[in-house]
Amino acid sequence: MSSSFLDRQNTVAGPGFDRFMVPPAALAVHLCIGQAYAFSTFNLPLTRLIGLTQSAAGDWNLKDVGWIFSIAIVFLGSSAAIFGRWVESVGPRKSMFVAALCFAGGFLVSAVGIHLHQLWIIYLGYGVLGGCGLGIGYISPVSTLIKWFPDRPGMATGMAIMGFGGGALIAAPLSVILMKHFTTATSNGVLETFVTMGVIYFMFMMIGVISVRVPAEGWKPAGWVPSAHPMKLVTTANVSVDVAWRTPQFWLLWGVLCMNVTAGIGVLGQASPMIQEMFSGKVTTTAAAGFVGLISLFNMIGRFFWASTSDYIGRRNTYMVFFLLGILLYSLVPTFGHMGSTPLFVAAFCIILSMYGGGFATIPAYLRDIFGTFQVGAIHGRLLTAWSVAGVLGPVLVNYIRQYQIDNGVPKAQAYSVTMYIMCGLLLIGFLCNLAMREVKAKYYYQAGAAAGSKA
């Protein structure tokens, strides 16, 4: 594969190109990198590399293995922020290719770490290298999709980001099947699974690399005319990435994303023990695993549903729904627990998790509305640092407050009540950030030729 094939100028679509070729190209990348959400399927097997069926002397402990995922998420946010402008300048094909190299390479380097039984090599492989693949891969198709679908940016980016949620649904059963297939008397199959997944994911991401195209300069969908009176909070101007992050709007959106993610991510990680403890004796471990599957499904569906809905009701209104409905549902969860109503509890969390996914999927279109299309991918990259912060804040809030409650004599079934009310508080902060959103002042607009920037 020559380097010229990857260059932006060789990805410009010719006449007659169907723009609906681009969402599956983006999905090919996001379905792979979404594997990160299912990494926990490897946690226990990684603690049994020597003992095989149970941990033996010299095996890694669960706490240290847990750091692999945390490092990957930190590098996801950091690399998206650092390489966002590079992704904008080189275009989607080269950035998807680099993402594939990093993500698949992360698996292969980690396989070496498993072979040598050196955990730091896995930190470096899946955590650092794979994390960079996650960050670059996550933002690489966003700007392109927004340019292909100026009439429905929410739906387009929602479709791609839905792939990130869907990736976990594929990776979880796939990992289990592969590990089972490769298990022998001397191996629990993790090493072979890492190598296989690295190869499969690289090949699958190549589908995206080969298929993706950028629209020609000035291209518009047939018959589409930009509205002479755009909706409130939808700009026709552009703001560069270096200016955008100095505006209050960027930090308000950062707060919106951070609060929405924090409220969902802690619950997602603790869903299984939470439902078992709140409905002690009524919900088995198997049923709890079903609950985790169900909310993961709603997390994925919500990405497409809410982002598409935002094209009709507006981005700010969509987040208003997330925050107000979220506050209502979180405040009702303890009541549902006291009532012993599992169906109401499950329904509430399905809606909450759909809005968690919807928050991720709607933010690129919100950024486009506020800052224009010029460097929206790079701005999105910087905003994803909110995800890294929420990734730490959410689980800490849920786990530590629960433990604090239990240590102070609160029954396990009621230990989550305070956490739920704190989530309401976080959502209220997000609501206020969203309420304060205004259009960017004209002094921040990008003037062509006034500063060096990337090609649109």
Partner: protein
């Protein structure tokens, strides 16, 4: 172009549907 479009959607849709089916299968245990 149409055939390529269908192939591309099949390529990404098939694993996504498989994953959704496996998850749904698991989720149904909640109601058993």
């Amino acid at each position: 172009m149409k055939a390529r479009l269908v192939l591309l959607w099949l390529a990404v849709g098939t694993p996504l549907l498989w994953g959704t089916y496996k998850t749904l299968e698991n989720a149904l245990k909640l109601f058993q």
